[in-house]
Symmetry: C2
Subunit: 279 residues, 2 copies
């Protein structure tokens, strides 16, 4: 094994998309990684019960279920359906022991340019989902997405806004999913991590920002980019954060093309020093 204490380390399943759910579980555990962030497509393929059983048998913990259904619908019936789908996703999360569903809420609705209306729609959807999330014991994990995804993937783009929403909806229903890729550039990043505090930070995502960045799914392996990860890890220790560290790589033209076992091996080498327990 690696020699690193990996007890806080999870791999986000989207990092190894060539692997099915069983392959990912076995692939991570066999190299000593105890945590996983589950994606819905792999969960649906393998089935919720089979996945829950496999995770238990493998002794893995689950950092999160990724991701929510988009709520970028202007038609009331379709918006209602999206909210109901999110309740079913919260149920799935509960069934596999995931403490949160990562809320990636969609960008602008098709044919709409009204960003303010979409942000209001997102807020209203979260308000409606909060009691349900509390009732099933799974949090709405608010993840600010990089502003370059505002048009399509999520119009919730600033960590400050997510903290405001957690203030409004309470930390029994909501939590913060912070990702260096989305937030590293934000002058408010450190301040808002401190504002959230150890209780509200649900899970923390690592990867790196490449220079140059070739497309909008070109995240770098930890150490290959320009983000000062040791400094950020230092903030988290100072805050008292003791939750998971996840590696999440969207990498169409590089890591997604590689042998997943090799990706996991390199992930451990690179992330090992950054996922150690607090001293």
């Amino acid at each position: 094994m690696s020699g690193y204490d990996l007890s806080r380390f999870a791999i986000n399943q989207i990092t190894t998309p060539k692997w099915s759910m069983p392959q990912a579980i076995e692939g991570y555990v066999s190299q000593g990684i105890p945590g996983i962030a589950v994606w819905r497509n792999f969960l649906d393929d393998h089935g919720v019960e089979a996945t829950a059983r496999h995770l238990r048998d493998a002794g893995m913990w689950v950092a999160s279920l990724c991701t929510s259904a988009w709520v970028n619908e202007t038609d009331p019936a379709r918006l209602r359906a999206a909210i109901d789908t999110n309740k079913r996703i919260l149920d799935q999360a509960a069934a596999i022991g995931a403490p949160c569903v990562v809320m990636v809420v969609g960008g602008l609705p098709a044919g709409s340019k009204d960003l303010g209306a979409q942000r209001a729609r997102i807020h209203d959807a979260l308000v409606e989902l909060a009691p349900y999330a509390r009732s099933v014991g799974v949090k709405l994990g608010l993840e600010p997405l990089h502003p370059m995804y505002c048009g399509d993937r999520s119009a919730m783009n600033l960590i400050t806004e997510c903290n405001d929403t957690i203030d409004a909806l309470g930390d029994e229903a909501t939590s913060l999913v912070a990702d260096v890729y989305h937030c590293w550039w934000d002058p408010a990043f450190e301040r808002e991590l401190r504002r959230a505090g150890p209780k509200r930070i649900q899970t923390f995502h690592y990867c790196d920002w490449l220079v140059p960045t070739r497309n909008l799914r070109d995240r770098g392996m930890v150490g290959d980019g320009v983000i000062d990860l040791p400094r950020i890890r230092g903030w988290l220790d100072d805050i008292g954060y003791d939750g998971p560290f996840e590696l999440e790589l969207f990498s169409e033209i590089d890591w997604w093309e590689r042998d997943p076992a090799e990706t996991v091996r390199i992930a451990i080498e690179r992330c090992g020093p950054l996922v150690a327990p607090r001293k």
Copy 2:
């Protein structure tokens, strides 16, 4: 001609990179566009005096000179040289009648991951350049660049920060260059345009955000993307802004490959309604 009142309309020269300076001047004027934002590479090729004469003879006004030299240098001598270069660029702007130099200040220095130090370096450079800018009557045009350029092109990414800097350095030395591409996603965009007010907004850049966006130089022609430009134009009218509207397209795989005369023709069709004088 187009039938639109184009008196406030400029094309930013990077939109038609196949054209030399004389070709751009003639190409814009021949279709009725009176304004230009000048780029240094074309200016250096044609020469400052020749360009100034050509612009005068053509009856064109200049929105800005693009762009400043990057100040992302950790070596004191190299940083000093970059600041001196920026003084020469301010001189060039004065010589061609450009009211501002667009400050694109560089991302992280080579080999550095210290974003806080780079932001302090940017601030110090602006503080040092401000008296010189005042002395030559050319403003430091602070342009917040989209967060996706923080790693390489500019670590000055939020309109709020730029307004803070203008507050600190004064509006005789500094002004705001606002671009929908960089700011459209920002929940603070409208508020900060109002905060800047008509006096501090130097020039206003149009283009569009494409969904999908294929790489980091894939800006869309006005109307081809998801930005609500009529709404934003409405804010500017409400504020009392009466300065230039510029089209600026970075578009490696589309518009930069086209015939520039065709780009200008389409630009007029698309931008015409959005550049009219205030009623």
